[in-house]
Amino acid sequence: MTTAPRLAIDDVSFTYPGGSEAVVDRWSQTFVAGTVTALTGPSGCGKSTRLYLLALLARPTAGRVLLDGVPVERLSDPVRARVRAHRFGFVFQDAVLDPTRTVLDNIVESVLYRHEDPATFVGRAVELMDRVGVEVPLHRRPAQISGGQAQRIALCRALLADPDVVFADEPTGNLDRATADVVMGAMRDHAAAGGCVVIVTHDPTVAAQADVHLDLGPQAA
């Protein structure tokens, strides 16, 4: 396992537009390649907000976000989009699949924004589906699969292009224990291959499987 810091948060604060209270207040943390980091804490403590700050989906009110030591928090919108497309993978809190497209279209969607041909990733998509134990026809629509299957499809989408960092917001929230273990196994494999994984979770079992566990209790905000 390498110890090189992939991502770093340096004295970051964040207040939602129109809000008066900082959701994140002077937070500093490093995230190392080859590790799974779990962020836990009570609802409203700013776990997801921290994830979005790391993933360049929100700009910090103050402080710096460093990717491989380079400050990225003030990059222009198109450059941040390119960083997300080429370096990051996401698993959102409730899968967020495109309901009009097939399961396969949803998995290969992420490479579209890297200007690569999704058709060339079909084999990889099938391999990932097998890895996370989703057995649904590729032409099914999200409405025709279960919530647990949708979440695993979202994980396949996140892992498709072997991103440097995978962000997952409650990836096992809709899964039974056995399936949650399969999902965590896939994320641990990704970390073992040199990826950096950051998970927000309420599940202590998931947190226990992480290499680093950050408990963001009330004192952490």
């Binding site: 919108d77 390119r82 959102f92 292009a161």
Partner: protein, 374 residues
């Protein structure tokens, strides 16, 4: 993983796939554009077809003609070489010169009615020869149907000038140009416009401009060319007033047509904007997800506009076909194919371009606020 087949092709495939996947929105967009194109075609297109027919009718009435009359024994008469000179101008479609009238009657009937015979210089009709070969030393001439009847000739026949005893052979019937139709009954003897040293005197020159709008310029040209002839010896008749009326009719119909097109376009654009905006509202999370996964605003804008453009082109082509079929079926005059094609292009392009407004709104969705679960 291998590199893709090029961003444009990938984007195009995604556009087609998205259009197919979002069936209701696609169908609505297609139907709106189809309806707008059809409606515009059966209203403005029908008006354009009728306008073309009316204007063609007016053009047929000889509004492009400039006639010049001058007495042969005036101070400086018109000469036949003017015909070729005027015919050489780009603004001029054709020029004809007519000599003074000579009375003739049927050779077989010395008490028959007299009919005027004139030399004609220039090509009197598209399919008429410039000259007729004399038969046994007798010049061949054309006669109008009314002249044949007045002379009492059984088809071809000889006519004779009672004073000079010159004989002519009526070779064929001919229709008079509009500008000299008042001369009927008349016989015309084709003569070669002499551009040499010895042109023949003529007393009427008929010049036809290429377009009604050119009548003023051609009239000015005539006045310049004939500046040496005293004004009192010359009478220039133009159809300028008729040409002006043509312009007014054309302008008024074009204005009305434009208003109908603009109305239809505005309706189509408004409807497509509502559809696209509604779809964007429904798909806010979709755009938020795309942004989070790395789509730039420009890419989302391109995807939405390309999707609308694709459907608009299909709708406009179908609308043009349906509208044309409708006009054909109802027996209305069909507009020019170029008009139909232009209309389809304008409707498709306008709706596609205007969809950029809701598309940009969609592209600016903040992924954080769209994806965050409270």
């Amino acid at each position: 993983m291998s590199r893709g087949r090029g961003p444009v092709r990938v984007l195009l495939r995604e556009t087609v796939a998205a259009a197919r996947a979002q069936r209701i929105v696609s169908l609505l967009t297609l139907l709106v554009v189809l309806g707008a194109t059809t409606t515009t075609l059966v209203t403005a297109g029908r008006a354009e077809g009728a306008q073309s027919a009316v204007l063609a009718q007016i053009e047929q009435a000889g509004i492009r003609t400039v006639s010049v009359h001058a007495p042969v024994n005036g101070g400086a008469p018109l000469m036949s070489d003017l015909v070729d000179r005027f015919a050489a101008y780009d603004l001029v479609e054709s020029a004809l010169g007519f000599g003074p009238a000579t009375d003739v009657r049927a050779a077989a009937n010395t008490a028959g009615e007299l009919v005027a015979l004139r030399d004609v210089y220039g090509k009197i009709a598209e399919d008429a020869p410039a000259s007729l070969t004399p038969v046994a030393g007798t010049r061949q001439v054309w006669a109008t149907a009314q002249a044949v009847e007045t002379l009492g000739l059984p088809g071809r026949g000889l006519v004779r000038a009672p004073y000079s005893e010159t004989e002519y052979l009526v070779a064929d019937e001919i229709e008079l140009p509009m500008a000299v139709r008042s001369w009927d009954p008349v016989l015309l003897a084709p003569a070669v416009a002499d551009t040499g040293d010895d042109p023949a005197p003529i007393n009427t020159l008929v010049i036809v401009a290429r377009r009604a709008a050119d009548v003023g310029a051609v009239t000015e040209l005539v006045r310049q060319e004939l500046a040496d002839i005293p004004a009192q010896d010359l009478m220039v008749e133009t159809s300028q007033e008729l040409a002006d009326a043509y312009g007014m009719v054309d302008g008024e119909l074009t204005r009305q047509n434009r208003a109908i097109i603009l109305g239809s376009l505005a309706s189509a654009v408004a409807a497509v904007t509502v559809v696209v905006w509604g779809a964007a509202m429904i798909r806010r999370r979709d755009f938020g997800r795309r942004r989070a996964l790395g789509a730039t605003r420009r890419m989302i804008l391109t995807l939405v506009v390309a999707q609308v453009a694709l459907l608009s082109v299909a709708g406009a082509v179908l609308g043009a076909a349906v509208g044309s079929a409708w006009l054909w079926w109802s027996g209305d005059p069909l507009p020019d194919p170029a008009y139909v094609a232009s209309l389809a292009v304008v409707v498709a392009a306008t709706t596609a371009v205007m969809s950029a407004v809701p598309a940009w709104w969609a592209a600016c969705r903040d992924p954080l606020s769209e994806l965050r679960v409270p």
